[in-house]
Symmetry: D2
Subunit: 362 residues, 4 copies
Amino acid sequence: MNLRDYKTAEDRRKAFEKELGICLENIGATTEEARIENRIGATHVPMGIAGPLNGKYIPLATTEGALVASISRGCKAITGSGGATVSVVKIGATRGPVFKVKNLSENSTLYEFITKNKKTFNVLAQKTSGHITLTDVYTNSVGLYRFVRFTFDTQDAMGMNMVTIATQKIVEFIEKQTGVRCVSLAGNFDVDKKPSWFNVTHGRGFEVWAEAVMPQKVLHDVLKTTAQKMYEVWLAKCMIGSAIAGSMAFNAQFANVIAAVFLATGQDAGHIGECSVGMTTAEMKKDDLYISVYIPDLMVGTVGGGTGLATQKEALSIIGAKNSREFAEVVAGVVLAGEISLLASLSEGTIAKAHQRYGRNR
Amino acid sequence: MNLRDYKTAEDRRKAFEKELGICLENIGATTEEARIENRIGATHVPMGIAGPLNGKYIPLATTEGALVASISRGCKAITGSGGATVSVVKIGATRGPVFKVKNLSENSTLYEFITKNKKTFNVLAQKTSGHITLTDVYTNSVGLYRFVRFTFDTQDAMGMNMVTIATQKIVEFIEKQTGVRCVSLAGNFDVDKKPSWFNVTHGRGFEVWAEAVMPQKVLHDVLKTTAQKMYEVWLAKCMIGSAIAGSMAFNAQFANVIAAVFLATGQDAGHIGECSVGMTTAEMKKDDLYISVYIPDLMVGTVGGGTGLATQKEALSIIGAKNSREFAEVVAGVVLAGEISLLASLSEGTIAKAHQRYGRNR
Amino acid sequence: MNLRDYKTAEDRRKAFEKELGICLENIGATTEEARIENRIGATHVPMGIAGPLNGKYIPLATTEGALVASISRGCKAITGSGGATVSVVKIGATRGPVFKVKNLSENSTLYEFITKNKKTFNVLAQKTSGHITLTDVYTNSVGLYRFVRFTFDTQDAMGMNMVTIATQKIVEFIEKQTGVRCVSLAGNFDVDKKPSWFNVTHGRGFEVWAEAVMPQKVLHDVLKTTAQKMYEVWLAKCMIGSAIAGSMAFNAQFANVIAAVFLATGQDAGHIGECSVGMTTAEMKKDDLYISVYIPDLMVGTVGGGTGLATQKEALSIIGAKNSREFAEVVAGVVLAGEISLLASLSEGTIAKAHQRYGRNR
Amino acid sequence: MNLRDYKTAEDRRKAFEKELGICLENIGATTEEARIENRIGATHVPMGIAGPLNGKYIPLATTEGALVASISRGCKAITGSGGATVSVVKIGATRGPVFKVKNLSENSTLYEFITKNKKTFNVLAQKTSGHITLTDVYTNSVGLYRFVRFTFDTQDAMGMNMVTIATQKIVEFIEKQTGVRCVSLAGNFDVDKKPSWFNVTHGRGFEVWAEAVMPQKVLHDVLKTTAQKMYEVWLAKCMIGSAIAGSMAFNAQFANVIAAVFLATGQDAGHIGECSVGMTTAEMKKDDLYISVYIPDLMVGTVGGGTGLATQKEALSIIGAKNSREFAEVVAGVVLAGEISLLASLSEGTIAKAHQRYGRNR
């Protein structure tokens, strides 16, 4: 059978059903008609709601039982503590091409050309889209390679497509003007979709912080734990455990929460790993608990990519963020809620029970 | 409005539509009735098909245009090269509790207890499930903490729920017998859902390798490139670029491919980051190109968790893997296909064009 | 001038003095006549004494004022607290060759050969020296490469020379028996003289732990600080600061102490970086302070290499360690003393003053 | 015995000899009278000479046989290839205090204060020394902590003492003006004497690059190898081996060379580990070989600290560098020489023999 013989998702699906002797009716039961290649339908990922948190409800798409309940509990604890304080800095999307020079001398010449032409690069970038601005150019070299990291403001889009196209134009200009060849438009200096220290120490997308101070009463009533117990788990797990295991992430577990929000709202699932690298801190304030999360690299948007698909668009409407910055704030809060609930469960020894109750009955 | 007042997804969804003045009809248009909490429906992630690769078709769920086409091209190149060779070693799922001792002396006593009671631990584990076997116990300590990493064979399940419950039983036994307290059932020594060097250097889930040798003709006809060009991009990007950026992943980009396969087949999306850490190697064989991928930590299963959901189950039936090991082999091959196609695009300077063509029209 | 024309250090030194118009009389003022190449004399590194610590005095060679005083203060604090408890596990010296195969299949064959012939490898190793035993063989592969990590017990020698020669013999045997070629006898899988997560997670040389509980009175009288202040600096600096900076070392600063002990006692200065990677932990016990250090990779010996040189031998006689294990214990204690004193200084804000007083007058 | 009872190194040494029944005559045989605490004499580290390289001889202090010979061979190969090209960028010495705030809001206020007062900070710094200039202020925060990295130009001194004293003044000013407390003057955000990704991605001290193109004839006559063999070892060891082992250093081995130059010239031995993290690249130019080294973090000086001691000063006079920048260039060249010779040995399988010949006869 040849996939290219079929024009519609339905034809393709039916051909498969016949060829393989299987039934794909649920995959076909979708209203989604996105133009991906060789489409046969859609995966349905169960969606639940957590919140409210700082006044907003958060849609979560996950196959994992207990996750929505856990995040909901974290939201309740935060709300009971007067809400979360959130701070956001926009860094921007990056693309990092790599050039190949003949020797150190040519490398220095290229360095000067790149650092002196930022304005021109921005003009070139803006010709490719009305929504893009070049905000930073960072470069480093090793041997015959020069790596450049272009950072762009892409308004409310996550922006990887846009910055790829803009960088292509800039690269063509550099090649033409300097005679130096670009080996690869993406040279892992972006660093796109890979956990990396460069992104952690320089930031990417949005840098976000969220914090809450949870009174003893909330810790007791909502989370069934104490400040001391949570602090102890945080220190043993998020700091010492992560350090001894060579983990790049110093948190209880951002990944499930990031994944559920990303899937629900049409963010790029390839970014889940990169965006789950971050740090949680905790501190006892007598019997209350201060707790915070920090995500140095949060690649999100509210327009473009998967955000325009039918169910994803509806999910975004539940949150009702005005723009990508406000959306980043919401993510920061939800990640905080997830950490609070997970650390509380671990501190009370109920995590296995939660898995038993929720995780088993599917 | 109180989420707990609503018994069905439909009631809940309608309440939201009314409360927020929005429409969630597409989220509601699903056959999926998974028992996650506060369910309102499902996210639909477009699904396309790539392949055949080593005789199998691969369902991919993604919101990113160009991805299915890219992987398909990689499959075609591999097939034209005589297929991929794949190798898999099962490590198993891990859970890593952390204990708190009084001093070095008690820490040594605990060490001895743990290393001498592996058989008993396995008996306890097997009481919690007929599908679990304890295969390894690794432990390390720092200060007043002792971290233990229990590794289990969980048959064809990815197994995190199972190993959490089994570890809970083992931990209770250790606490009772030694009087040492467990601070946290999960102490980031697992290391679950975080990119970490421990997982890379010790392995987790499955370790998988895949390789192909692509003749000049395939490189030219299918990939529009040459061995030398691809090799050059690989070295500049995957090795030197990743090294200079402090990336934990030495690949062109496993993450998109891992994400698309995981979403389609009901794997845990929280594992995407952890499983995207791996290495690609390339080597010129005159005008042909040897290329390989290595994933040291691939957490996948064919039963349990999200694999039992309606669309995910159907997607697995497309692949038709006999068990989780065979499924891991398929993932290795698809990741290889993705690397081949992406490196080829970068080597030919067509990556921006692909983004322009496919990425923009949604 | 041709360095090879001169037979003695004196001739060579005088030729240089004449050629460059400089005076090298102090370099010449040495009793050391080690057979290094092109020798002209010796560097004199000032040596001071710290201690006693657990009954032993420790010679420290350093050009940094304040260091000996600081370590001495740490020793005094430990002694006032009843001494340090120390624990040591011998891992052994490692050498990690890399082999090149034709494909995955040959790689598997090589894997089997290597894992099945450990006894033979040990026989070969023992033919090269009466002081060596092969204790472990660990291997991993990627692409066409197979990396092997041979671990040896080298009795009281640090042992890198020995294990290099032994590994050479084993490698020749593997090449002959399997027809697979070794690309490099040292493939950075050792990992020799580079900070690496593999060494941290698998251990190398000796793994050592040391701890002390310091009563409030000692904290006050000797260290002019409190448990809370020291704890606060430890958490902010060693854990959170190191984590946010992508540091591989989670300590206040092992490096100065390691360097000073290594130089004084003839350890290999190339190992200073690798052995300075480790973790410090602290915990308040009401008004007392528990503090510990952990070094996962301590490459030291009491025979061979620089330990046989005149001044180094004398320095070792000051410590009077019976063997390399006991020497490793001493290093653990001194590192603990250094951490205690440095954290105390930082907690009291006197570090700059110490630098001003001691660091400036040379 | 009480160390404080003795006024001179000789008295102290004699007391030790009597107390422990040992002889310390060689330690006493020194002209060095540096004012370190509890001094008893000096360690003599054998010093040899390598070079010339780019017209300069390089003193090396080491206890390891074969090292001087190996570096000399590398120098000869470079000289035969027309010399090394070297490039240096001065970053400066850094000190990284950590402050403790009450909440995110105060953290933002502190951020603004710090970013707006750079000029004032410089004025304060310059009051502490006529040799210091504040060149950069970088800050990041997590939870209740704000980390600041002050970078200074310290002229020809490595400068850690100077920057510590200057930072102390700046910190006192910040505390007084903002009411925020500094937890630790050094918060591991420097990152001083620890291998860290922050230093690699932001640079510290000097960033240096060196390269050479070695003709086939030199490879054959001097190094007994070929371009292809050296390239193969480089790729397998420095890139793939380092990546799979989680090494922070992507080189054959900078550490021995850095250590030998640092010891000979009075650099701070505590910096050896941090400065040995860097990357080597290689590339075949038909039958010739391009090879380069990159050190992102080279903390060196030609005045202050150990550079003023008698033998160290003489060693510096052998090199005859005009200033610290020129000295950094020399280090870059020597490190390149070391890499060339070591990779050549490994490629020819003679490394074990060299160890056997030189390493054993002491």
